[in-house]
């Protein structure tokens, strides 16, 4: 049922399509471009403007921008999805455990969560990234370590409100084990929150990862979009007149973020129907009816003809 309403929502649909497109490119980069080694320097003439041969032009190192973009997709997506997933798993574990166990466990976990939440994330990430090396998995770890706390609070709040509901009480009385109650009774009711959380974490990861890569803290030899921006910036692409080198990777980041953001927002709307847009034509019809058309409808009676 949830999936159906997700598809009906226009925003979610657009987000979903963009996301699916990105996945396609990530899975089959070879299909989208003929240049399979976009990293190699000096293959083409540097700083070419967009043309038929090079859809987005070339970098000042003579690499084809479009192919870099295509091949970089996989990394970006991998980081976003992995970091998003792990962060969500961590949030769910900590949040639900804190809510369900209560007492000293809850106090401790909440304290840790709130402390991590308050720490200034980006400076912390910068420090962590700088000192941990540049591989993708390090990046993912850094993102997860800094990003799980917001979700954990949300999960805890939701779990707390569910904890005393009757169906859980019934499960307890039946003698079910705690793990069972948490996994099979509580979590299914929290699915939309968990999914929304995952989307939010993925969104955060895309932006944070490319941000870190942009200042050179990622793997500088990768094709990631953030890294492309790093090279573009250090080669002063703007001044060199190669605007596309800046515009293209950033646009790709923006598109993927938009995909996650739209899907995330759609979940908000599904949960709260009052937020859905009220369409204009319905209002116009209503105003018309209130004003003049009453006379036509007066004799119609009180039941639709069936």
């Amino acid at each position: 049922m949830k999936f159906a309403s997700l598809v009906q929502n226009r925003k979610a649909l657009i987000g979903l399509i963009l996301f699916a497109l990105t996945c396609l490119v990530a899975l089959f980069p070879g299909v989208f471009t003929s240049d399979h080694t976009p990293d190699v320097i000096g293959v083409y003439a540097p700083n070419l403007t967009p043309s038929g041969a090079h859809l987005l032009g070339t970098t000042s190192y003579g690499q084809d921008i479009y192919s870099q973009l295509v091949y970089g997709t996989r990394q970006v997506l991998l980081i976003a999805l992995a970091a998003g997933a792990f962060a969500t798993v961590l949030s769910v574990l900590i949040g639900i455990t804190a809510a369900y166990m209560g007492g000293i466990v809850d106090e401790t976990l909440s304290l840790i969560t709130n402390v991590v939440l308050i720490l200034p994330t980006f400076p912390l990430m910068i420090i962590l990234a700088r000192y941990s090396g540049t591989s993708n998995w390090v990046m993912i770890t850094v993102l997860v370590a800094t990003g799980w706390s917001y979700g954990a609070n949300q999960m805890r709040a939701q779990a707390l409100s569910l904890r005393n509901r009757d169906f859980l009480e019934a499960a307890r009385v039946r003698g079910e084990r705690r793990a069972y109650i948490i996994l099979c009774e509580m979590m299914p009711t929290m699915t939309s929150l968990i999914v929304a959380n995952f989307l939010g974490s993925a969104l955060y990861s895309v932006l944070a990862a490319s941000g870190l890569q942009f200042i050179g803290l990622g793997n500088t030899s990768s094709d990631s979009w953030g890294t492309m921006l790093y090279w573009a910036h250090s080669q002063e692409a703007l001044q060199a007149g190669n605007a596309m080198w800046i515009i293209a990777p950033g646009l790709a980041i923006a598109v993927l973020s938009a995909a996650f953001a739209l899907m995330n927002y759609a979940f908000d709307e599904i949960g709260n129907p009052a937020l859905r847009p009220v369409r204009r034509k319905d209002l116009r019809r209503a105003a018309k009816a209130a004003r003049g058309d009453q006379n036509a409808e007066k004799g119609a009676g009180d039941v639709y003809a069936s």
Binding site: V278, A286, A289, A290, R291, D302, Y304, S306
Partner: protein, 363 residues
Amino acid sequence: MSTPPEPTAPAKLAAPAEPLLEVKDLRIVYDSPRGPVEACSGVNLTVRPGEFVGIVGESGCGKSTLLFGIAQLHSAPARIAGGEVLFQGRDLVTLPRKELNDLRWRELAVVMQSAMNALNPVRTIGDQFKDAILAHEKWPEERIRERSAEVLSLVAIDAVHLESYPHQLSGGMRQRAMIAMALLFTPDLIVMDEPTSALDVVAQRSLMVQIKELQQQLGFAVVFVTHDMSLVSHFSDRLLVMYAGQVVEFGPTRAVFDTPSHPYSKSLLDAFPSIRGPKVPLTGIPGDPPNLADPPAGCRFNPRCPVVKDRCRTEVPELYTVASSDAVSPVLSRCLVHHPAEPLGVPLAADVNIPIVPEVQSS
């Protein structure tokens, strides 16, 4: 109006006065993503000055929607799709905004179900009274305070609570404070949406008694929406029963209560066992209320009616005047039994008791 009027003598039911409120064929529609759903289909109702009219029905029958529609307090996705609401002779549906706002609270006040939700949590009671007054009159501070204390004393609340916030009062007190607020300009009509539902039984009765006393003292009319038929029937002059967005019975309380003219009203009443009468098996109404997006053909009650006939499934009943009722204050009923030309031959008075057995709705 610069001073509150003297309390008028309570209106008598016998001589029908010019109606204070006349709702004609009101249709209220909800715009859902799947298309418009009619929550109120052609509702007719009149209220005389000083009269107490109760509106009863199941959850989802449209009574609250009706109330807010009458007071023009509905909001998207609900909208008025047709009909008139004549209050003091003026149609509220088409009345220009400014004039509507003018008569709000002065002539027409509202009391809602949950005072905790209806009162602004971040402002004191006194401030909220002041808001209401200042929206219509430019009284000096002293006068405002005086009047506020006065209405509070009418409901037996100490004036010191003007400085309190809503969450600092008890449930019953909040509810009474809301009623006091409604009395600031001693309006001609107060509409109440289940004001007793959030209270315990004892507080319910005491609140009802208080409302009735105030009504007799100050002479305002009341439209009271509730699902609790037995409670309201002790206090109302006339009773209106709603089902599936339509009025199915409307008449003097005694008539409707003692000799219901519609199978639904009868079933409702039969569901309340009498505390003093002979012991009878509990009855209920099998099935569920219909889906208003797709109501049944013919009479809307036909899938659940204990005395249904074939004709009921095809012919649409109007609101007929019950022949045997009082000429001055007739009972209206939406059942083919009372069709003036071809009445359905069904003994409505017969005791057709349906025992409470879970049944799958047949529709």
